[in-house]
C-alpha cells in the first residue's frame, strides 16, 4: 500500500498547505518557498495552532498541536501529512 486511499499525493498536500498558509500570512501561495521555514515568513505560533485545527477539519487527522513546530517547512509538513494519512489508511 504505497498510495494513500485519500488519493492525496505529497505534492497535492503541499499545494493545499501553501494555499492555506498563504491565507494566514496574507501573501500569495507562490511567494512561499516550500523549503524555507515558515517562521521566516512570520507564521506565528497562534497561526501554527490554527493550522493544526484546519488539518483536523479537512483530513480528519488529529495531530499534535505542535506539528508545525516539528515540521517547520511546507515540504516537511506535506511529507509528514502524507505519511500520517497513509498510516491512517493502513490502520483502517
Amino acid at each position: 500500500m504505497s498510495v494513500p486511499t485519500t488519493g492525496r499525493t505529497t505534492d497535492e498536500l503541499a499545494v493545499w498547505l501553501s494555499d492555506r498558509i498563504a491565507l494566514y500570512l496574507r501573501r500569495r501561495p507562490e511567494e512561499i518557498a516550500p523549503a524555507v521555514p515558515l517562521a521566516e515568513y512570520g507564521l506565528d505560533s497562534v497561526a501554527a495552532l490554527s493550522l493544526c485545527g484546519d488539518i483536523e477539519e479537512d483530513f480528519g487527522l488529529i495531530l499534535e498541536p505542535t506539528v508545525a513546530w516539528d515540521y517547520p517547512t511546507i515540504d516537511a509538513l506535506a511529507a509528514h501529512l502524507a505519511e500520517s494519512l497513509a498510516g491512517e489508511a493502513a490502520a483502517r
Binding site: R20, D44, S50
Partner: protein
C-alpha cells in the same frame, strides 16, 4: 452594625463534597489560619506587619523585613513544593487560598517573597528530572529563592524571538546575553532561564535552563541595576547579564528545543493560580471602603445610605465572587481536566486582573479624595491600586492570553460547544479532595470544553420558583444564547483572524468567551453549594446578581433584579465586615 452572625456559615457542607477528616481540606484550613495568625491584625498599627508598617516599607522601596521573616518562619516556600518532594503543595486551588492572607496585606510581598519562586519551580515540576526536582525542592525548603526569566523587554510576549543564548558546548551550555526585569535576580539561589539553544527561527529553538548560582563563574555574570517601578516598589526587580558563562548539561530542564512548549504548559498552572491570589488585595480594598462608608457622613447621611455607594460595595463583592468562581474552576481543572486547562488558565489570566482593576476603580470613587492619600487609615488602598496592575503585566499580557484562546475557537465551535459532556461536579466543589496534578497531561490545545458544556446542561436544571431563581434562569438563558452566537462567529473566522495579528473583533470574541466561562463557573459553584451548610452560597440571590452582572457586561438587556438580591448582598457585605470574614467564596476568618 449588621453583624448578626448566623450559623456555621463558612463550614464545609456535610453532604456532597464533604472532605475527609484530617485530609486536604483540614490541612488547608489549618495552614491559612496559621498564616493569618502569624501575620496578625493588619489594621493594628502597633503590629510589625500592619498596613502602616507595610506602607512605610513601600515608601522606602523595600520589602517588609518583618513580613519576610514571618514567611521564612512558617516556611511559606513549602507550599510551592509538591508533597511527594517533601512540601505542602497538594492542590492548586488550596495554594491560591494560602497566598491570600499575604496578598491581602501586600502584593509586593506576595510576589517578591513567594510567587516568583513558584513560577520558576513549576517549570521543574512539569519537566525536570527527578534529580532536578529533588535539588530544587531542597533549595526552596531551605528558604532560598528561585527566579524566573522568560521575557526580554525587546520582545514582550513574543518570546519566541528571544535572543538570550544557551549555546551548546562541551556537553553543557554557554549562557550569553541579558534578561531584564527579573524578580529577585539579585538574591535568588537559582534562576530558570528561557534561552535560545539554536539560531533557527521558530518554536523549536529555545530551551529552559536551571542555573544554580553556586556553581557559576562569578566573573562571567553580573546582576544589573534595580528598576524603579510605579507599583510593587519593594520587589527586587533587576536584570542579569551573562558572558559565555558555562553551565553543565544537567542544567537543561526538559528536552533541548522544547522550551516554548514547556513554558506554555507551566504557564497553564501559574496563570490559573496567580490572579486568584490577588483577590486578597481586592478584599482589603473593599473592606477599607466598607469601613469608610460606615463611618463617614455626607448630606446628613452615612455614605452607606447613598444608593450609588451602597450598590458599588455590593457589586464589588459580586465581582470577587465571580473571579473566585472562575479561579476555582480553572485551578481544579488543572487536576481534573488537564487537556482543557489551556483555555481556562488563559481566561483567568485575562479576565480576573481586568475585573479586579475595574472594581478598584469603582471603589476609589466611593472613597473620594482619600483615595489619593498615601498614609493613614486608607493608605493601603492606593498602594493596592498601584500594585495590582503588575498582575496583568507580568508573565502574560491580556492580549497574549486572548491569543491562546483565538486559535482554539473554530475547533471548539465545530467539535465541542453544545456537544461535549459537562465538566465533573468536583470542578466546582470548594472543599473536595483532588488527585495530584498530572503535569504531563497539560496540553497546548485540547479541543474540548466541559465548562461551557456545564453552562448548557445547567440551563435545563436551574429552578425557577422564587423571583431570584427566575432572574438567574432568565440570565442563564441569555448566556446560552451568547454561546450560540460566539459559536456562529467562530465558525466564520477568516484564516488571518486566527493568528496573533487577528482583528480587534476576534479579540472581542475571546473576551466574550472568557465572560461565559466565568458565568459557567458561577452556576457550577452555586449548584454544588446547594444542599450544603453554606447558606449564603446556596442562596440564589448571589447567583442571580452575578449572572445579571456578567450578562450586562456582554450587553444583554435584562430586567432589573428583584430587590431581595441587593438586600441579601448588602447584608452579607456588612456581616462579613463585622465578623471579620473574607470576601470570597470561602468566608474564611481573618485576623483583622
Amino acid at each position: 452594625m449588621g453583624t448578626a452572625a448566623t450559623g456555621p456559615h463558612g463550614a464545609p457542607g456535610a453532604g456532597r463534597g464533604a472532605p475527609s477528616p484530617g485530609g486536604q481540606e483540614d490541612r488547608a484550613v489549618a495552614r491559612i489560619a496559621e498564616l493569618e495568625h502569624r501575620l496578625g491584625d493588619p489594621t493594628d498599627e502597633r503590629g510589625e506587619m500592619s498596613y502602616a508598617r507595610l506602607l512605610d516599607a513601600d515608601e522606602r522601596a523595600e520589602l517588609s523585613e518583618a513580613g519576610e521573616r514571618a514567611l521564612d518562619e512558617v516556611v511559606l516556600n513549602a507550599d510551592f513544593v509538591p508533597e511527594r518532594l517533601g512540601g505542602r503543595l497538594e492542590r492548586i486551588d488550596t495554594l491560591v487560598r494560602v497566598m491570600r492572607p499575604v496578598f491581602r496585606r501586600d502584593i509586593a510581598l506576595g510576589l517578591g517573597y513567594g510567587v516568583t519562586s513558584f513560577m520558576a519551580a513549576v517549570n521543574v515540576w512539569t519537566s525536570g528530572t527527578a534529580e532536578q526536582q529533588r535539588r530544587l525542592a531542597g533549595l526552596l525548603l531551605d528558604g532560598r529563592k528561585v527566579s524566573v526569566a522568560y521575557h526580554e523587554l525587546a520582545h514582550g510576549n513574543d518570546f519566541v524571538r528571544n535572543e538570550f543564548q544557551a549555546r551548546p558546548a562541551d556537553g553543557g551550555y554557554l549562557l550569553d546575553g541579558a534578561k531584564q526585569v527579573i524578580n529577585n535576580a539579585d538574591r535568588a539561589a537559582a534562576w530558570v532561564l528561557f534561552s535560545r539553544t539554536s539560531p533557527a527561527p521558530g518554536s523549536r529553538s529555545h530551551s529552559v535552563v536551571l542555573a544554580e548560582r553556586d556553581g557559576l563563574d562569578p566573573g562571567r555574570y553580573r546582576v544589573l541595576p534595580r528598576y524603579d517601578a510605579v507599583g510593587v516598589r519593594g520587589c527586587h526587580l533587576s536584570g542579569l547579564e551573562f558572558t559565555d558563562c558555562p553551565v553543565p548539561g544537567s542544567a537543561l530542564v526538559g528536552e533541548e528545543g522544547k522550551g516554548v512548549e514547556l513554558a506554555l504548559r507551566a504557564f497553564q498552572v501559574t496563570r490559573s493560580a496567580i490572579p486568584g491570589m490577588a483577590l486578597g488585595a481586592a478584599d482589603t480594598a473593599l473592606r477599607t471602603v466598607v469601613g469608610f462608608a460606615r463611618g463617614r457622613r455626607l448630606y446628613r447621611k452615612s455614605v452607606m445610605d447613598i444608593p450609588h455607594a451602597r450598590a458599588t460595595l455590593s457589586t464589588t463583592f459580586l465581582d470577587l465572587l465571580i473571579c473566585d468562581s472562575l479561579s476555582l474552576a480553572a485551578t481544579r481543572a488543572v487536576h481534573l481536566l488537564p487537556e482543557e486547562t489551556s483555555l481556562y488558565a488563559a481566561a483567568v489570566k485575562y479576565l480576573v486582573p481586568k475585573v479586579l482593576t475595574d472594581a478598584m476603580y469603582d471603589l476609589s470613587i466611593v472613597l473620594g479624595a482619600r483615595f489619593y492619600v498615601r498614609e493613614g487609615e486608607f493608605g493601603i488602598f492606593q498602594k493596592h491600586v498601584r500594585d495590582l496592575p503588575v498582575l496583568s503585566l507580568g508573565h502574560a499580557g491580556s492580549a497574549a492570553c486572548q491569543a491562546t484562546i483565538i486559535p482554539q475557537l473554530s475547533r471548539l465551535a465545530k467539535r465541542s460547544w453544545f456537544r461535549d459532556d459537562p465538566a465533573p461536579p468536583s470542578v466546582f466543589r470548594l472543599h473536595e479532595d483532588l488527585p495530584e496534578v498530572a503535569f504531563d497531561k497539560l496540553t497546548l490545545a485540547g479541543g474540548r470544553d466541559g465548562l461551557s458544556a456545564a453552562l448548557v446542561t445547567a440551563v435545563d436544571d436551574l429552578p425557577s420558583g422564587s423571583p431570584e431563581e427566575r432572574a438567574a434562569h432568565g440570565a442563564a438563558l441569555r448566556l446560552m444564547d451568547e454561546l450560540r452566537q460566539i459559536q456562529e462567529q467562530s465558525l466564520e473566522l477568516a484564516p488571518q483572524d486566527r493568528t496573533a495579528l487577528a482583528s480587534p473583533a476576534t479579540f472581542a470574541l475571546a473576551d466574550r468567551y472568557a465572560v461565559l466561562l466565568a458565568a459557567a463557573s458561577v452556576i457550577g459553584v452555586w449548584q454544588q453549594a446547594r444542599g450544603t451548610a453554606d447558606e449564603f452560597l446556596a442562596d440564589p440571590a448571589w447567583l442571580a446578581a452575578a449572572l445579571h452582572r456578567l450578562g450586562r457586561r456582554l450587553g444583554h438587556a435584562l430586567p432589573d433584579l428583584p430587590p431581595g438580591c441587593e438586600t441579601r448582598l448588602h447584608d452579607e457585605v456588612l456581616r462579613r465586615f463585622g465578623d471579620r470574614r473574607s470576601y470570597d467564596l470561602y468566608n474564611a476568618p481573618l485576623a483583622g
